[in-house]
């Protein structure tokens, strides 16, 4: 994927297996967000192909990809401000899940319960605190009924206690049979929850493997962990 002359992501190939949680790490600007935005159709990749269950989805419109079962949360959080939390999630159920109003309302109630947003359900989404907004992103993606969820730093800005809660929710989601790709800077989260991890740096994939393999990979340590090595040993 190129933005003008800048190759934000190049020559990266990876796959996600059913039921798996794939961690994605890399320094700021490595191209993680760009890569997943290509996957869900926000960017049209300048080269390369993307397949979902053997179907080529490269260049499809994002709403189509969403309806096919691929939903992403946004790193920068984009709630529909003038709508309540409930209505935000309802949009995902109605449009992403292609449901009728009655079914969508039921689905929305369930999802809101699952992510623990009940107390905020009828608040305007512009007025709720950041941790709740992060959950709202997740809820909206879930409501679409997608089988694959792409979470872009969905725990950024949370305190350790809120992270634990979020991890619990992710485990519940995984146990319901969904696959996840989790972009996260918080090592504790990625290491703890991922089945596999891929590492990006300057737009290229520099490592892939089980969490413990990746941590010990030399190029990863050099490119990314370098100064964080001490904290990693503690963890």
């Amino acid at each position: 994927m190129k933005f003008g002359a800048l190759a934000a992501v190049q020559m990266v190939s990876f796959s996600l297996n059913p039921g798996e949680i794939l961690g994605m790490i890399g320094p700021n600007g490595a191209g993680k967000t760009t890569l997943l935005n290509c996957v869900i159709g926000i960017h049209k990749p300048t080269s390369g192909r993307i397949f979902l269950n053997q179907i080529d989805i490269t260049g499809m419109k994002p709403h189509k990809i969403c309806r096919m079962g691929l939903a992403k949360t946004s790193q920068i959080m984009e709630p529909f401000m003038a709508m309540t939390v409930f209505e935000n999630v309802l949009v995902g159920a109605l449009h992403g899940g292609r449901m009728r109003m009655r079914l969508a309302t039921e689905k929305t109630e369930k999802v809101i319960e699952l992510v623990g947003l009940k107390q905020y359900a009828y608040k305007l989404s512009g007025s709720i605190p950041v941790p709740a907004r992060r959950r709202l992103e997740l809820a909206r993606a879930l409501a679409s009924g997608a089988n694959i969820l792409l979470l872009d730093e969905n725990m950024a800005g949370l305190n350790p206690h809120e992270i634990d809660e979020a991890l619990e929710i992710l485990k519940k989601i995984r146990n319901s049979g969904k696959s996840l790709i989790v972009i996260e800077h918080i090592m504790r989260v990625v290491m703890g929850i991922s089945d596999r991890i891929i590492v990006l740096n300057y737009g290229s994939k520099i490592a892939e493997g089980f969490p413990e393999e990746v941590v010990n990979d030399e190029s990863v340590i050099k490119a990314y962990l370098g100064d964080k090595l001490t904290s990693l040993k503690v963890a």
Partner: protein, 316 residues
């Protein structure tokens, strides 16, 4: 969501419309009936603009083009093809909607000011086309600046009252539908954050186009009704940007993207201009300008919009 209030408002709305349907039987004064018709007419037109721009946030600055197309279609259908009024009326709506479909596909990709400019330019272009077409191609079709005289209807004011009322009723019903449907939530999501809407599964192109085409369909009907009512049209009248401005101001005053916004805005502005216009012939436009400025300063979200925020209402 407070569905109880929504129901009450819907019932009130149906009740008021039903009551209005009997109005011509009671109103003796032709002037009053005409005034009421004009108010209902503007509620409908402002509603058309609100349907598109109020809910999607795409500021259409050329809605008058669909009004004008409606006027010209009805005029040409009746004078050149001898089609009676009601079929012609229907054709006007369909042609306006179809043109909107073709124009919407490229223009709705534009964002913000670019969309506003494109729609404005299209409206001006249509005015020029109807003005110059005949001279350029040496035909007599639009009849340029001479305009077209429609067959004299011979109908009284109550006839036009009964033309306008159902169309405005449908526009308002469409508002109610927008407020409570999948389609409407799609539009509101587009207004708030278009990319987020798209990745949440909203077919943004189709939803925007749907709003744009419906708005144009109804505007076409209003254009046709007005043409038949005043029986003489010229390009500079029916494509007059003044009409666009009026729709925008009425909706802003009442509250964009609200159910009652166009109703309140159009009623308020029409009645104010009527009462001031009679008394202060020379200054009334300045006074209206002042009133609009003050109203927008006090209520930046419009009358209904501000009420909604203050009272934490979801639907009105």
């Amino acid at each position: 969501m407070n569905f109880k209030i929504d129901r009450i408002i819907l019932i009130m709305f149906l009740g008021i419309t039903a009551a209005l349907a009997f109005l011509p039987n009671f109103v003796e004064s032709e002037y009053l009936l005409r005034l009421i018709t004009v108010v209902i007419f503007w509620i409908g037109i402002a509603g058309c603009w609100n349907m598109m721009s109020g809910y999607t946030g795409y500021i259409d600055f050329g809605p008058v083009v669909y009004f004008g197309i409606g006027s010209y279609v009805v005029a040409i259908a009746m004078t050149k093809y001898g089609i009676p009024f009601f079929p012609s009326l229907f054709i006007s709506g369909v042609i306006s909607g179809s043109v909107a479909f073709l124009v919407g596909i490229p223009t709705l990709r534009l964002k913000g000011a670019y969309f506003a400019i494109a729609t404005f330019a299209f409206a001006e272009a249509m005015k020029q086309i109807t003005l110059e077409f005949d001279r350029t191609f040496s035909v007599s079709f639009f009849q340029g600046s001479d305009g077209i005289t429609l067959p004299i209807s011979g109908h009284d004011n109550s006839f036009f009252f009964y033309c306008v009322l159902p169309v405005t009723f449908l526009v308002m019903l469409a508002h109610y539908f927008i407020e409570h449907s999948k389609f409407g939530y799609g539009l509101k999501a587009i207004k708030e954050a278009e990319t987020a809407a798209e990745i949440s599964g909203v077919n943004t192109t189709a939803n925007k186009l749907g709003a744009y085409v419906s708005s144009a369909f109804f505007l076409g009907l209003f254009g046709a009704i007005e043409a038949y009512w005043i029986t003489y049209i010229t390009p500079s009248d029916v494509f007059n940007i003044q009409k666009t401005v009026q729709m925008v101001i009425m909706t802003l005053l009442g509250g964009m993207g609200t159910f009652l916004g166009p109703v309140i805005g159009a009623t308020f502005l029409t009645l104010i201009s009527e009462s001031l216009g009679a008394r202060f012939v020379e200054y009334y436009l300045i006074m209206i300008g002042g009133i609009i400025i003050v109203a927008i300063l006090i209520m930046p979200n419009g009358i209904i919009g501000s009420l909604k925020i203050r009272k934490k209402l979801r639907f009105i």
